[in-house]
Symmetry: C2
DNA sequence: TAAAAAAATTTAGTTAAGTCAAAAAATGTT
DNA sequence: AACATTTTTTGACTTAACTAAATTTTTTTA
């Protein structure tokens, strides 16, 4: 742990005051009106909107609440590179020692939160129970899957979807007699530290 | 705009110190190591992790960067209700005066950012150019779509995907001879006061 | 198992920036 | 042009963001 590189050069906070202003105007509010709702002074709000001041997280939460959005909306996002994948060309990966296979649909966009996978679930496969931060949305394309979610259990067929917060313990299993396929999309950060094995296409 | 209810209930800032701690431990870092990387003192980091102190946005950005995640990861999220949709039961909606139809796959989870739609694109349909905050990911299920993205144009067939930031001006059109179908997923926030259908990218 | 080392927490501060109220300036309305 | 409304600026206050160092706790070592 020598020569630790500071993560940042004491940059400005990653807050876009312009987004607050745009939202306020879209809602047809004056500075005074919004400041009243958010419980801050009108002068400070003016400064925040013009990036001449930075609110604390608590104050930012109040602004978000008054404007009916979540805090993330105000966070400035860096520029990103787009990504396209081709159905005929995507490689399949497998978690180490697992028959589960998946294709990566999304890419790592700076500051992005979306991760999406095409998951191929063999007949009889059953996952372990897991939970983590972020949202998850499953779109079933083929087959039949039993999804547990907390104390609930859902049978999902092609066309069905399930949208839930990932911190609820959840698992899934292919209970049909054909391989199942789903599009899994999540907003948990990319913390996938598990080993991946590259498979040839079948 | 009278009797403005102050949003300030003297709440704690919406920060989950535990998430920072979990992430640090998962990365195998000591308090000292992470504080060095983030450029803050070890004592303060300890307090932040135990919710006994709140970092400024700038400091939070440094922590996020040092841990390789985005700020959103640390924001505490309220409890949510999960949602399931059935392929055979979902209603189709249309934008006013448009032949474009869509089904809602996701639900509104408090503090959530994920929105997902099944979009049915008639032959010959062409959308207007649009841009907005948030990420977008398209998974093509059927048909052929021409997607413009900034200066780029992509032909997307069944199985192809495209992942991009929504602030790049973009549009799409069905250029095939059969109806097209895509799963659209986005992280743009749900703006209060705006028609929900705005999210269908028109 | 005791001692040493490492890691985490607590404490007692400093200080700068978050935030204010009021004045001034800019903008909108009639 | 006069007035009202909205926004910005200004000069302050104060408190919490953040520190270094001491203390405690936990882990490692022999």
């Amino acid at each position: 742990m020598n020569d630790p590189k500071p993560a940042q050069d004491l940059e400005k906070p990653p807050l876009s005051g312009q987004r607050i202003r745009d939202l306020r105007r879209r809602a047809g509010l004056t500075l005074q009106a919004l400041s009243d709702q958010a419980g801050i002074s009108v002068g400070f709000l003016s400064q925040v909107e013009r990036d001449k001041g930075t609110p604390s997280l608590g104050t930012l939460a109040q602004l978000a609440s008054a404007l009916g959005v979540s805090i993330e909306y105000f966070i400035a996002t860096p520029k990103a590179n787009d990504s396209i994948t081709r159905g005929q060309e995507r490689e399949r990966f497998a978690i180490a020692d697992s028959s589960l296979q998946y294709e990566r649909l999304s890419t790592d966009l700076p500051g992005g939160t979306l991760t999406s996978l095409m998951i191929h679930i063999p007949v009889g496969y059953s996952s372990e129970l897991t939970s983590h931060a972020g949202e998850e949305l499953i779109v079933m394309l083929d087959g039949t899957v039993r999804q547990t979610l907390g104390d609930s259990t859902f049978i999902l067929n092609a066309g069905d979807t399930l949208h839930f917060m990932g911190d609820t313990p959840h698992s899934f299993a292919n209970i049909g007699d054909v391989p199942a396929r789903m599009v899994w999309t999540g907003t948990s950060p990319r913390l996938i530290g598990q080993k991946r094995t590259r498979l040839s296409r079948d």
